[in-house]
Subunit: 253 residues, 2 copies
DNA sequence: TATAGAGATTTACGCAGCGTAAAGGTCAAG
DNA sequence: CTTGACCTTTACGCTGCGTAAATCTCTATA
């Protein structure tokens, strides 16, 4: 049976452009050309296309597919196994990339908290402005190398499980804050849990936790609208003052 | 301090071409142009480039990096977290792809054994030629639908752990065959292990194992040089007759 | 001052696997 | 004959550069 290029495209779900491209690169030649130059495909071409699409769906490059199809037999297995190894390597690379992204996320968040911490370790107030302008990188290198390295060390030791746990703590924290926003009652177990969750979260980033630093941090959250925006946007309502008040109340007990 | 494009390229490890491209797309503009049109970079540009390279190393697209850098603040976190989600989705897709490739590998190997099995379930000898020509797909659909479906079912139920186990069995089998090739003594525990390993391997693919079919399979290995080639190439020496003899000897005991 | 080598510029084409579209020819039904 | 669907080739675009040609600029040295 003979098929036009449109019929093949409709049957296979790929475009006529793709079929012309495959003809161009000799991956799938039509059975014949009509007198007017139209491409005519047969059953054998359909069968070959089926195999092409299978391997393509596995992520094989067209050039590789061509090699496989033009040298049938056990080379198919070899090619598939080689392809499998490539995918395993790609997976490993992706895992490493994911770990790096997670660490960068935490690093950035840790940077926010570290900015506050550095403030309490002697940064001059006038430096805060420059810190804000440059978003911290150059400043940290100049003024907080020891702290940065300690924090980096702890940060870099974070495992994937730690990361997930931090995410969960953060989710729980925002959930509690939302609930607390309804009563605004600090004399509840819930308010204390807000403090405890925030403390628990911080301890993943800070080399040394202290109640003093904790209170200073939430104070800074209040004073700097950039931080306030982040937390309030995340919660969908005003929660920073609640967080501040809960920490101030419970951090000394 | 002022730097030429070469100096920046040397310091950063990227090409001058890349720097010109970044200039072209407004990702990293030079601080100024000299009278002769040379690009001159400053410290601020170096700092920005550092950030670009960080995010690039995370796999972010340049357009996204530009958005992040041109809108600092908490959008950085949002972008990183969004990027993290993308990578997680990509990982999931890759895992599925890997599973599919593994299944295809096993399917192809199972096809080889199924060709032999189908022969024993009534295929006409003259059909073998056509099977070989088309590599089996159309033939199986016509003549072995029940068997195919049963085999497919069992095949598709293979887990990743099963796949790894099959790989290990196959490795062990070839290792034994290589040792056996030195003595060619079938009256050894090693020869029996060859039989047992091959049987164990087959049972992952065959819905119903039988000694009769096993013997027929290795007979076919001998008769068809395509199979012989696969096994002998894999082992790096002639092992098919050994495999055949070991199976024939032990499959009835 | 002239020369040579290093480095600068812009322009252009290529890569993988197509999508989109223009310009013009072909086929089949009404 | 007309019209609409389909065919062809040619061309440009996408992402992020690598490679290279043609030509200008800078600096050190003889």
């Amino acid at each position: 049976m003979k098929y036009s290029i449109k019929q093949v495209a409709d049957m296979s779900g790929i475009s006529t452009r793709t079929l012309r491209y495959y003809d161009q690169i000799d991956l799938l030649k039509p059975a014949e050309l009509s007198d007017s130059g139209y491409r005519i495909y047969g059953e054998e071409e359909l069968s070959r296309l089926q195999q092409i699409l299978l391997y393509r769906s596995l992520g094989m490059k067209l050039e590789q597919i061509q090699s496989v199809l033009d040298d049938p037999g056990f080379h198919t297995l070899t090619a598939l196994e080689e392809h499998h190894r490539k995918l395993e390597a790609e997976k490993e690379k992706l895992n490493q990339l994911l770990a790096t992204v997670r660490k960068t996320i935490q690093y950035t968040k840790g940077e926010i908290t570290m900015t506050a911490e550095e403030k309490f370790e002697g940064f001059k107030k006038e430096r805060l402005e420059e810190n804000e302008r440059l978003y911290g990188e150059e400043i940290r290198e100049k003024y907080g190398k020891d702290t940065v390295e300690k924090s980096n060390k702890k940060f870099m030791d974070l495992s994937e499980a730690d990361f997930q746990e931090m995410q969960r703590i953060e989710d729980a924290l925002f959930s509690k804050l939302e609930h607390l926003a309804k009563t605004k009652d600090l004399d509840t177990p819930e308010a204390k849990e807000v403090y405890e969750l925030h403390k628990k979260w911080l301890m993943y980033s800070w080399p040394n936790y202290s109640a003093e630093a904790h209170k200073g941090l939430v104070q800074m959250y209040l004073a700097d609208e950039r931080f306030a925006k982040y937390y309030n946007d995340r919660a969908g309502r005003e929660v920073v003052s609640l967080l501040h008040d809960a920490v101030v109340k419970y951090a000394e007990e």
